[in-house]
Amino acid sequence: MSTTVESQSHAHGDGHHDHPEYLQHHFDNPAQQESAAKLGMWVFLATEILMFSGLFLAYFIVRSQYPEMVLSAHEQLDWKLGSVNTVVLIFSSLTMALAVRAVQLNNRKQASLMLIITILCACAFMVIKYIEYSSKIEHGLLPGIAYAEHTIVEGTHYAQEGWWGGPQLFFGIYFMMTGLHGLHVVIGIGLLVWLLVKNNRGRFSSEYFTPVENVGLYWHLVDLIWIFLFPLLYLVK
């Protein structure tokens, strides 16, 4: 999945012959290329939103079927870590936006600085995520049959069998939502590093900053999904 994202959002890097070097052969002028790339990115973001919508619907349905289980099960989640993660991600969204602004103003050094901060914030997000996951694994709060491993009655596959709609359902949803979101953060880190490398090589300028803008849009969407994910999973009483 990640390869296509990279190839899609900056498929126009190496133009050739008399046009400006960043212009692709099948486009006629930079404006057409830039608006095509941005529209392509927005349509791609539409598919991301719809993909996550499936998970959000699964969450709301599990919540409507087993309200008290969800409320009791999400006590296990540490909302303080969640809040820190939210702040980290929103801050990285700011620095990403400033990076795009810096490229638009031809300030390459500031752009690189902002990109580095964004990458660091993203890594911090993943570290906090790792801490949360390891504490969950330790307590055995895992999805489905892996739930509460050590309380399994000896000899049976499942936890207490016939135990339907228990916390393992909530943690199934929790791990899928945060897992898929985490995967998108990792893909984002890959893209940002790629941007940083190209920026240091001076590929971007106020003339041509489409890849930076597209990765920025992608990163803001990842932040947007977390903005909805955080209250639903960690906070709602």
């Binding site: 409507s64 803001h220 009483k237």
Partner: protein, 156 residues
């Protein structure tokens, strides 16, 4: 029909070259938006502690929507960009809404048309001591014993 050699159409008009007229926001606006997002995050956390009960879901969603508005409007430039991109974004939200609404239209009205039939069915099952909600069916009479959802011992 004018034949001047301009190609590439953005919303029907020929596309203007990239660099001129691209809106760059002042630093002040970015920081202001960031401040607003921080405040709203704190508000979200406080609201959830306030224990509004069932309303807390609605309020949390409202606050999240406002934050999303800020991110999409300013950080993603939708406010200053060609209207078409906003159209793409909001039509996506529309289709997500269709998906949610129609699915819940089914789930929440399962026995609506024949409420008394649904209740009659519930009573019917009382004898079989196994309520219809997703339980093992036919766990009838004494031997099978009642199936409860015991709290996992080590989970706290």
């Amino acid at each position: 029909m004018s034949h001047e050699y301009v190609k590439g159409y953005v919303k029907g008009q020929p596309a203007k070259p990239a660099h001129e007229g691209h809106h760059v926001m002042p630093l002040k606006t970015y920081l202001a938006v960031f401040g607003a997002l921080m405040v709203l995050t704190v508000v979200t956390v406080l609201v959830s502690q306030a224990g509004l009960g069932s309303a807390s879901l609605a309020v949390a969603m409202l606050v999240a929507l406002i934050k999303a508005g800020f991110v999409v409007g300013y950080f993603m430039h939708l406010k200053y960009d060609v209207r078409f991109y906003s159209f793409v974004f909001f039509s996506t939200i529309l289709f997500v809404g269709i998906f949610f609404l129609m699915t819940f239209a089914d789930i929440n009205t399962r026995d609506a048309m024949s409420a008394e039939w649904g209740n009659k069915r519930m009573k019917l099952d009382a004898q079989a001591n196994v309520p219809p909600k997703p339980k093992k069916i036919e766990a009838r009479s004494s031997g099978a014993g009642e199936i409860k959802a015991p709290e996992p011992a080590g989970a706290k």
